[in-house]
């Protein structure tokens, strides 16, 4: 039972990372992106290539994925939002859908549609062993996933609440016009939010890919949507909400497998999302939520 809880938390922390990316982007731009799952997938593949070709080191893979997804995130922001700043929400949404289609199919052309895996010899060098804590078996990778996630969350918390960049992001999120009037380069802030959000996604990609040792082009689709639901459940603008919702969905999914609903485990996040939208649109932890969504 306790092992299942750890499994669920590991799974959930990845959702939380992805959901944080969504939330950060939505919170700042008041716009939804549908290319986030694909950014995550590209991050996973970058990590995969680093491990396979260069050196089996998790930190190196994470760093490479961070760099790649930051650039990708800025590219998405430019294409879908920067040039369409005054356009209706639907236009940007459709561009992000187009980007996600392109990225999935590009990955299929580059890496093939089949599932790829890191060879076990390399995986062992990454630290594919397990140890026992008080009668519970925990794998090193689970510790790595949880550790990296917690570290990143603390880092993000620090950036948002303690640095100048964070202050600017918060100001823009609150009222971008006022921030602009006070001399904030709003375009730069949007780009930064997109880069940070995408980096969180890229890290999640590497962690999931290595944890399950599965890399495939459509891996972003379901994860992206689930993380998106987590973000909605958390209230779409609340960073703590995204973390709580992500963990909750991960744990519920894992326990649903335990109780024999494994075929339907993927549905829970969407059911949660719809229930939250119906009964508590502000999100789990309250707040204004999407009431502030820009346009329709």
């Amino acid at each position: 039972m306790f092992e299942q809880l750890i499994n669920g938390l590991t799974q959930g922390s990845v959702y939380a990372l992805l959901a944080l990316g969504f939330t950060l982007i939505f919170g700042t731009l008041r716009m939804v992106t549908f290319a986030h799952g694909e950014v995550y997938m590209i991050g996973a593949y970058v990590g995969f290539e680093i491990i396979r070709l260069l050196h089996p080191n998790l930190l190196l893979a994470l760093a490479a994925a961070l760099a790649a997804t930051a650039i990708l995130g800025i590219a998405v922001e430019l294409l879908a939002f920067h040039y369409l700043r005054n356009a209706p929400h639907a236009t940007s949404l459709l561009v992000t859908i187009g980007i996600s289609i392109l990225l999935v199919n590009a990955a299929q052309k580059v890496w093939g549609p089949e599932t790829q895996a890191v060879p076990f010899s390399l995986l062992d060098r990454l630290g594919n062993f397990e140890f026992q804590v008080g009668g519970v078996y925990i794998t090193f990778l689970q510790v790595a996933v949880l550790g990296v996630t917690v570290l990143l969350m603390l880092l993000l918390y620090g950036i948002i609440n303690r640095t100048k960049l964070g202050m600017v992001i918060r100001a823009t999120a609150q009222d971008y016009e006022a921030a602009f009037a006070m001399g904030v380069n709003v375009d730069r802030v949007y780009m930064a939010a997109f880069a940070i959000g995408s980096m969180l996604g890229g890290v999640a990609g590497v962690l999931v890919g290595v944890y399950y040792n599965m890399f495939y082009p459509t891996m972003g689709g379901l994860y992206g949507l689930k993380a998106f639901s987590a973000s909605v459940v958390g209230g779409l603008t609340s960073l703590p909400g995204a973390v709580v919702a992500g963990l909750l969905i991960g744990v519920v999914e894992t326990f649903s497998v335990e109780f024999g609903a494994s075929n339907f485990r993927h549905i829970f996040s969407f059911v949660f999302m719809i229930l939250i939208l119906l009964f508590r649109p502000g999100g789990l932890l309250g707040g204004k939520g999407m009431a502030q969504a820009r346009g329709d």
Binding site: L84, T91, L93, V95, I97, G98, H266, I274, L277
Partner: protein, 336 residues
């Protein structure tokens, strides 16, 4: 001149096009070409159905394939298990899809439009997963086989050409019925909501109710298309109703333009034809669709034929045609 004759004369270009569409297919050398035409017909109905929401009301539905799937599975179940005649299954599957549309739209439309967009996507995902995993009812990824071909008054459809004429009739019915819908009070209310929701509400349009109705109607049409698809292929599986299918529909609208009845038809026809005509492109089909979405949104947001009204009836003979379609300014405003 009698009125009917006058309206016939006014619609001569469309009647000629229809005559062409009816006359040419029997002479096509390859039955595969007819099959492509059938698919164009299916997607024309689907694109028009999505256009009702995305183009006319300004509600963005990005999971429209879900209602297509509901229609297909409902029709298969109605004919195979309840042994209903084809025509009853056709209408019934449309109605069932409409009911699902109501279930999706009614609770979410109380909130702002973006909620609906999210829930349509979620609904598409959930439905796909249910179809994939509910072995007892949908037979999972194996799909449902041996769906009987349509038959009416004892005449069964056997040939591809028969299917072609059936889908042509359905598509024409869709166009005409949508035209009627959009020019009556209902359609004007929808256009008013798109143009300025606040003003519409102030002048007494019950916006939420009309939006829900529009959603139900759109789901109904998608269900009809799904039903035809099921009886045409004789086999359905969840793979035909993925989220990609919804995205293809969005690309069709983005390409052809929305907010009128011509754009979606052109978009559907071109986007089905292009990968067929340029065979090497087949492999890069999704690239084309994704690229079209991005390029059209950046370069010509209103689509090829969007942003201006194309009335189905060009002019009345006495020149008193009233333009009932306003320009799609709010949803896809033109560059100033």
């Amino acid at each position: 001149m009698p009125r009917t004759l006058r309206s016939l004369l006014a619609n001569v270009p469309y009647l000629l096009l229809l005559a062409l569409l009816a006359a040419v297919p029997p002479f096509l050398p390859n039955p595969y070409h007819v099959q492509v035409l059938v698919f164009i017909g299916i997607y024309v109905i689907l694109a028009l159905s999505l256009n009702l929401l995305n183009g006319y009301v300004g509600l963005l539905s990005i999971g429209h394939a879900a209602f297509y799937a509901v229609g297909a599975y409902a029709s298969a179940k109605l004919t195979l298990e309840l042994h209903l005649p084809w025509i009853a299954a056709l209408v019934g599957s449309g109605a069932i899809a409409g009911a699902f549309g109501y279930l999706v739209a009614r609770p979410t439309l109380r909130l702002s439009g973006i909620y609906l967009t999210l829930v349509t996507l979620g609904f598409n995902m959930i439905l796909f997963l249910v179809l994939q995993n509910w072995m007892g009812f949908t037979n999972g990824p194996l799909g449902i086989m041996d769906i009987p071909p349509p038959s009416l008054f004892g005449y069964g459809i056997r040939s591809r050409l028969g299917y072609y004429y059936l889908i042509l009739a359905l598509a024409v019915l869709t166009v005409i019925s949508m035209h009627r819908l959009m020019t009556c009070r209902f359609g004007r209310a929808l256009t008013a909501i798109r143009e300025n929701e606040l003003a519409a509400e102030a002048t007494g349009v019950h916006t939420t109710r009309y939006k829900v109705q529009a959603f139900v109607v759109a789901a109904f049409y998608a269900g009809i298309a799904g039903s035809f698809y099921a009886h045409f292929m004789n086999f359905i599986s969840p793979d035909s109703f993925t989220i990609n299918e919804s995205f293809i529909l969005l690309a069709m609208l983005a390409f052809g333009g929305q907010g009128n009845l011509i754009g979606p038809v052109v978009g559907a026809a071109v986007l089905i034809l292009v990968p067929e005509v340029f065979r090497p492109l087949q492999e890069y089909r999704m690239f084309v669709y994704g690229g079209i979405l991005i390029v059209m949104m950046l370069v010509r947001r209103q689509g090829l034929l969007g942003g201006r009204p194309y009335s189905l009836r060009l002019t009345r003979f006495d020149g008193t045609e009233k333009k009932v379609y306003a320009r799609g300014d709010k949803f896809f405003p033109e560059e100033k």
